[in-house]
């Protein structure tokens, strides 16, 4: 029995490796696709040696895009898995907690009042500050009214509506150009991803991960209910607050540079759960990998489906993510949540 159990876990480990390889393959594929006429061979060689223009394009343009897409997927996928775990709710995601809407509001505020479209880092700062602000509110209300999942979710939903309508109101006040800029920010875009942004986002996204993995076993226990988990020695309020703070940071890091890329935080953990089950020791890394695969695939598709236009990545993730997810949902016979 112990061995059977081990075998199951071994299978999960193998699947993780598979998804990692899948991610790598898609990454390399993405590096070979682009608007310019460099050959696939040249694209790959560009990674190793200096072959002129191909290298400049691959290293300066495509590679940052691929890295950024991967990072965003990891950030949103992990954050989604964490929110769903500590709030014991399959509908939890970075956006249902108001975090996405508040980031959007932060961006809108900077664009309209602080010339955000002018200063490079103004929008980023605005989005980031408001993301954290809304998670502080959620956590603050919880400390006061009790750290149950329900309290947090309700607060989050209230914030989501608040910030969405405030954003709409501000857009109402804006000039034509500002509204343009806002609309495009809300669609999401990887075009501005450079190595500087990657390092900043990367820090915010990757640094919390070891801490979150440390809590993975505790997340398993929290699905059994706050009481059971507490009786087994899990400090539920502290872990809940800390996890949400970390996941918010990851979300902020993922969207502050690139705009709103929705649906990944909701879908990636669910897909991961269908394949890996609910053991968070595997679910968390799986959500990260699957998130990365989804975002990378979405960006590649967005760049190639309607040449020479780019379909904004936020739109691709919704258009393609939704039917795909419904398909999986219908096909899957086992109750997985």
């Amino acid at each position: 029995m112990k061995n059977q159990y081990r075998a199951l876990k071994c299978r999960s480990r193998v699947l993780l490796i598979f998804f990692f390889l899948l991610l790598t393959v898609i990454g390399v594929l993405s590096l070979c696709i682009g608007a310019s006429s460099i050959s696939v061979m040249d694209s790959i060689l560009a990674l190793i040696k200096d072959n002129g223009m191909a290298r400049a394009i691959v290293l300066n343009l495509r590679l940052p895009r691929v890295f950024m897409a991967g990072l965003i997927g990891i950030g949103l996928g992990t954050a989604g898995a964490v929110f769903q775990a500590v709030l014991r709710n399959p509908l939890a995601s970075p956006f249902t907690l108001g975090i996405g809407s508040s980031a959007g509001f932060g961006a809108v505020v900077t664009i309209i009042f602080f010339n955000g479209l002018v200063n490079e880092y103004a929008i980023v700062t605005g989005a980031f500050v408001f993301t954290l602000l809304s998670s502080f509110v959620v956590l603050g209300v919880s400390r006061y009214k009790g750290t149950t999942a329900e309290t947090m979710i309700l607060t989050g939903i209230a914030l989501m509506f608040l910030f969405s309508s405030l954003s709409s109101f501000l857009q109402y006040l804006g000039t034509k150009e500002e509204v343009h800029g806002i609309v495009f920010w809300f669609f999401g875009s990887l075009s501005k991803a450079g190595y500087k942004e990657i390092i900043l986002s990367g820090t915010m996204i990757l640094v919390p991960i070891p801490f979150i993995l440390r809590f993975a076993f505790d997340f398993n226990l929290m699905t059994a209910g706050d009481e059971s988990a507490g009786a087994l020695g899990v400090n539920v309020p502290v872990i809940r607050m800390l996890s949400i703070a970390l996941a918010s940071l990851m979300t902020a890091g993922a969207i502050c540079f690139t705009g709103v890329i929705g649906f990944i935080g909701l879908v990636a953990p669910h897909i991961a759960r269908m394949i890996f089950g609910s053991d968070h020791l595997f679910l968390i890394p799986a959500s990260a990998l699957i998130g990365a695969v989804l975002v990378l695939a979405a960006d590649t598709l967005g760049r190639t489906l309607w040449l020479p236009h780019i379909i904004p990545i936020g739109i691709v993730t919704s258009f393609i993510g939704v039917p795909f997810f419904l398909f999986l949902l219908i096909r899957k016979t086992k109750e997985y949540w």
């Binding site: 400049a56 343009l61 000039t175 501005k192």
Partner: protein, 337 residues
């Protein structure tokens, strides 16, 4: 003209007044009662043209955002505000008992007509920001307010400047390729946008002239592959008229020049990148923008063309203002030193 067509919405029984019929921005025949003494203006383009026609005193109400253009429209700052260009307040308008309200074709929506018809106030839809129709619209406005002479003068001036460009450009066999970027970074101006029209008038071949979306996102890679000869960008927050120097516009230009791998683009290497303030991008002064564009696309062909001089002419003869402000990056700009 004694056409007794009843004006829309009002129960009009008498036939002593004059009225005219003209075609509005929608292409519909509209009849307006003359004379028109009291006008409410909902956007800056219309206000500028009215001033060019010498009808300042008839402006009884203005749009709320006028404070943004305080330097340019100093004498109108004391007029009552009636709401934004997109959403005017029917009650405030009615209070001022205007004869007509002039608004863009699409903003505010048609509810404005419905709201004002019960007061007998007519809404005139004119755009003034599209080069293709501005001449006709100036003439129409002239007839409506009985300043045909001034309207002819302005229209003739537009035609003359446009022809000066078109005539020489018409002889060119191969048009240089131009990348036109709009207010938002990495979003190009394609058919349907003002920037595209300007580029065409100036004799450039817009890289995006086959695009189906007016403001589509593009990748650096695409621009590099297309190798434009000249790059134009517009920016909405450089305060044209109030600018003292071109530091700001030059900074924007610098950012474009230093985008990763953009040094692979011809235009960047040769420094043929130019940033425009939005006041000469679309609107009654779009012609100035076109002239600048023509000069930069065909420096040899237009060696004798002086955009700054033309701008000065416009401001002095038609707006009654001395030339001031900085509108482009690089060495064509700067105030009169």
């Amino acid at each position: 003209m004694l056409l007794t067509i009843p004006s829309r919405g009002a129960a009009w029984a008498g036939n002593d007044k004059n009225s005219i019929v003209f075609e509005d921005a929608f292409g519909r025949p509209i009849s307006v009662d003359l004379p028109v003494q009291r006008i409410v203006v909902l956007n800056s383009d219309t206000l500028e043209v009215l001033r060019a026609l010498g009808a300042q005193s008839r402006v009884k109400g203005v749009y709320s955002e006028i404070d943004r253009d305080e330097a340019f429209f100093k004498e109108f700052l004391d007029r009552p505000r009636v709401g934004s260009w997109r959403n005017a307040n029917a009650e405030l308008i009615a209070d001022l008992t205007p004869d007509i309200v002039i608004a863009y074709e699409k903003n505010p929506g048609t509810e404005l007509e419905k709201q004002l018809s019960s007061f007998g106030i007519q809404v005139i839809r004119l755009n003034f920001y599209k080069l293709g129709t501005i001449v006709k619209e100036v003439e129409t406005l002239g007839r409506i307010i009985g300043r045909e002479h001034q309207a002819h003068r302005l229209a003739a001036w537009y035609c003359k400047k446009l022809e000066a460009v078109q005539n020489r450009v018409g002889l060119v066999k191969k048009r240089p390729r131009v990348y036109v970027e709009s207010y938002s970074d990495f979003h190009t101006a394609a058919p349907g946008s003002g920037g595209h029209d300007m580029c065409v008038y100036a004799g450039g071949k817009n890289l995006a002239d086959k695009f189906k979306v007016p403001y589509s996102e593009v990748t650096s890679e695409w621009v590099i592959e297309e190798q434009p000869d000249v790059i134009f960008k517009t920016f909405a927050w450089s305060k044209g008229f109030k600018n003292k120097d071109n530091a700001f516009l030059n900074a924007v230009r610098e950012k474009i020049l230093t985008r990763p791998s953009w040094n692979l683009i011809q235009a960047v290497r040769k420094g043929r990148v130019h940033v425009f303030d939005s006041s000469i991008w679309t609107g009654p002064r779009a012609i100035i923008g076109v002239v600048y564009m023509a000069k930069w696309i065909y420096p040899d062909l237009f060696f004798d063309l002086d955009p700054k001089q033309i701008h000065k002419e416009y401001l002095e003869s038609f707006q009654g203002l001395p030339y001031q402000g900085v509108y482009v990056s690089g060495d064509f700009s700067g105030g009169i030193q």
